[in-house]
């Protein structure tokens, strides 16, 4: 049943991506959020090192934050005018639908379920589901090796569901409320690998407390196209796309990647083309 659903989903996804690339839509909407005032509200993750993290001095750092700041500036908002709002995975569509935020850059992979509810600008990063293991652990060479390993991920996340349904159905999967618990387990050697998007993993591995302790597996277990979510039909989409294109062409994108994921020895994909969603 589940498998059938997945194949069907993949087929529709393919069809959708074809049409999506054919006509980059975006109707003008005068009353769209972001047009009035100089404040802009941006949804990011608050607890994801390397992507969106609230640091002890109350500032925000990470790749998503850098991208969002760049985009906001292109839209005419100085960094000081940005109001950051936490966008937890489960809340993202709702935040956009209700206009709580103007746009969301929070490890937000584009998929067809979400595209029904919100529009995506970008993608601005192509990530893959990958694994993080202890630096001295060389036992996982191929994805198939995962089957007799102990994996960890966040409850209910797509990565966790991926592991259960296709990647390694025989592997043991520990689900926690957050990645930090998984890392503690990895350190404590009761968990062999933490699995989620490689960008997130790279963010953790780049932290100064973790440098040298963990390494990425380098598997491309799925394609996660990070997009910037906007309200359905929002005119922001086109403007953000323009901003993202400029960000790649003037070298800022490269700089942000190096800055945020550099220490993890993360082999990032080249900057994706706007509208080119790799399914």
């Amino acid at each position: 049943m589940k498998m059938l659903k997945v194949t069907a989903a993949a087929a529709t996804a393919l069809a959708l991506s074809l049409t999506a690339t054919a006509c980059g839509s975006g109707d003008g909407d005068e009353s769209a959020p972001g047009s009035g005032g100089n404040k802009i509200t941006v949804g990011i993750k608050f607890d994801q090192p390397g992507l969106g993290l609230q640091t002890p001095d109350g500032k925000y750092t990470g790749f998503d934050v850098d991208v969002a700041t760049y985009v906001a500036r292109e839209l005419g908002h100085e960094p000081g005018d940005i109001e950051w709002k936490e966008a937890k995975s489960a809340d993202r569509e709702t935040l956009l639908e209700r206009g709580d935020v103007d746009f969301i850059a929070a490890t937000y992979s584009i998929n067809e379920e979400r595209e029904k509810k919100v529009d995506f600008a970008g993608p601005y990063l192509l990530a893959h589901q990958d694994i993080l293991v202890r630096a001295d652990d060389n036992s996982i060479k191929r994805p198939e090796d995962l089957n007799d390993k102990k994996l960890c991920s966040v409850s209910g996340s797509t990565s966790a569901q991926n592991v259960k349904t296709k990647l390694a159905p025989r592997a043991q999967l520990q689900e926690y409320g957050g990645y930090s618990e998984c890392l503690t387990g990895l350190e404590n050697r009761v968990i062999d690998a933490l699995t989620t998007d490689d960008s997130i993993l790279a963010g953790y591995a780049s932290q100064k407390e973790h440098q040298g302790k963990f390494k990425l597996g380098g598997f491309k277990l799925s394609n996660e196209n990070y997009g910037i979510g906007v309200q359905k039909g929002s005119e922001l989409k086109e403007r953000i796309n323009t901003a993202l294109e400029k960000m790649v062409s003037d070298g800022s994108w490269e700089e942000y990647v190096k800055k945020n994921f550099g220490p993890a020895n993360y082999k990032n994909e080249p900057a994706p083309e706007i509208g080119n969603v790799v399914r």
């Binding site: 996340s157 618990e181 404590n188 009761v190």
Partner: protein, 225 residues
């Protein structure tokens, strides 16, 4: 609306998830009844240190959010102390850890309920028991506790209902019970209100009959004074 509900029933193992909730509840209930009784006995015992331990235990455990206790069973007990409770796969380990955490937490409330029950047993009962030469364990187990239990069926029923609802917290360490499934469904589907309604209904189905049944039992066995 009806189609969506049927879709959910087909696509997700709702009954299975609630079955785990029921299992969690039953094991934890039995465990906390036992441990809670022991704690109550400790708090009433002649050994000052045991009284102190009982009081300390109840006051600490009762004041910590359950989520913290459950997470600690996994991070602390399992990961760090290596307690795996005789299981070797995560699914079983987590289930048992969750039960252990629920027992540790709920027993504090069982203990307090029992203590108030002990207070309702007339002084004459234990005085008479001592007069015929019964020792403390005998006084407690033969005379006082049997009467105390009968008077606290009501409060214990409430503890049980709260326990049923509290099992949702086991989701924090990945036990596949109702709340875990709810989170998964919310992540995948758009029907937040409908999903919440389904799970609310599920819990009502579990807790209301328990409450009614035990309410009736409570009236039935209450000691009339």
């Amino acid at each position: 609306m009806r189609e969506i509900v049927f879709d959910f029933l087909e696509g997700y193992d709702l009954l299975g998830a609630f079955w785990v909730t029921v299992q969690l509840t039953v094991y934890s209930a039995v465990g906390s009844l036992i441990w809670g009784t022991l704690l109550a006995a400790m708090r009433a015992s002649p050994v000052p240190l045991m009284r102190g331990f009982g009081a300390g235990y109840v006051n600490v455990v009762r004041n910590i959010p359950l989520t913290v206790i459950i997470v600690f069973t996994s991070l602390g007990l399992f990961q760090t102390l290596g307690v795996s409770l005789g299981a070797d796969d995560f699914k079983t380990i987590n289930f048992r850890l969750a039960v252990l955490g629920m027992i540790a937490y709920t027993s504090a409330f069982v203990c307090e309920a029992l203590r108030s029950g002990i207070n309702t047993v007339p002084v004459g009962q234990s005085e008479a028991a001592r007069a015929i030469g019964l020792s403390f364990p005998q006084v407690l187990s033969l005379i006082v506790l049997p009467q105390a239990f009968r008077s606290v069926v009501g409060p214990l029923a409430n503890v049980l209902i709260a326990l049923t609802k509290n099992t949702t917290v086991a989701a924090a360490i990945g036990v596949a019970e109702a709340a875990t499934l709810m989170r998964e469904m919310i992540e995948n589907e758009a029907q937040l209100i409908l999903i919440s309604a389904i799970f609310a209904l599920g819990f009502i189905c579990l807790t209301l009959p328990t409450g009614l049944l035990l309410g009736w039992v409570s009236k039935k066995v209450a000691v009339r004074r």
